[in-house]
């Protein structure tokens, strides 16, 4: 364990990426800079001088060999890659002279990002629904209500996420 680091757990839904970015920025302004991201919303921060780091998230499912030129492009543009968590990539760049840098500079590319998330969630939902019979009937004895409850919660959260992302896209297109 590195000195002067803290761990924080925080859950964000896929449509809350801008809230997440704002939270990471506020951490840096307090002198806690994102060091790494782990599975299931575990963030590690390192103590340092407070500064105005802007954090931006992209969603990309890459094959390993395709990732290098992707990261190179961001690095050339001055963005530091902190890590990735379930295909969400975390980048940061310092704000200079009050100018907030962006990785997405138009509405269409922001919408395209949410569409990539949507496609993933949609396939995930299809796969899970395809197995409903196994979940519903194959778990024996007294645990059946637990598996069924978890299953229903999972489907509900997937459907809810899909709806919220669609609303997010509609909102972006309206601006």
């Amino acid at each position: 364990m590195v000195e002067n680091t803290i761990r924080k757990f925080r859950w964000f839904w896929p449509w809350q990426d801008e809230q997440e970015e704002a939270w990471l920025r506020s951490m840096s302004q307090k002198g806690w800079h994102l060091l790494s991201v782990g599975l299931a919303g575990i963030y590690r921060f390192q103590a340092g001088e407070p500064c105005d780091y802007i954090y931006r998230l992209d969603y990309q499912i890459h094959k390993k060999k395709d990732q290098q030129d992707y990261l190179q492009l961001f690095s050339d543009a001055g963005w530091e890659h902190i890590g990735d968590m379930s295909d969400w990539h975390y980048f940061r760049k310092e704000a200079k002279e009050g100018e907030v840098p962006e990785i997405f500079t138009d509405v269409e590319s922001k919408v395209a990002k949410y569409k990539r998330v949507l496609i993933y969630l949609f396939f995930f939902a299809v796969i899970i629904i395809a197995f409903w019979h196994n979940v519903w009937f194959d778990y024996p004895y007294s645990w059946w209500f637990v598996t069924r409850a978890i299953y229903l919660l999972l489907i509900a959260s997937l459907v809810y996420s899909i709806i919220r992302l669609l609303l997010r896209i509609r909102h972006l297109r309206r601006i």
């Binding site: 030129d69 492009l73 050339d76 590319s109 395209a112």
Partner: protein, 108 residues
């Protein structure tokens, strides 16, 4: 207006238009970003997320093609199909500009 296989790509977004304009010669990503900002006199900035998405989409549609990969940087250039799309977009913009100028003259 003549409709051909390029019409489904039109109109291009402002970013895509400028990205394609710079790709009349082979360039890698960062060079595209710099050149877009330069030739648009700072009115258009292309972030790396937007550019990566545009490269992926344009390559998939065979409007640009990878010509070189060096130090993890891919260089692209317009294909003949990409050039046709770009020319058609420029024609559209010419009409737009002429219409705009005739209105602007009324106000001058």
């Amino acid at each position: 207006m003549v409709r051909d296989d390029t019409s489904k790509y039109l109109p291009l977004t402002e970013s895509t238009y400028y990205i394609m304009l710079t790709l009349v010669e082979p360039l890698h990503g960062y060079a595209v970003m710099q050149k877009v900002e330069e030739i648009s006199k700072g009115t258009v900035k292309v972030g790396p997320g937007t550019l990566y998405g545009a490269f992926t989409a344009l390559e998939k549609e065979k409007l640009i093609v990878k010509v070189k990969e060096e130090n993890r940087r891919k260089s692209y250039v317009l294909t003949p199909k990409g050039k046709r799309v770009l020319i058609n977009q420029i024609n559209r913009l010419e009409i737009m500009t002429r219409n705009g100028l005739s209105v602007k003259n009324l106000y001058d």
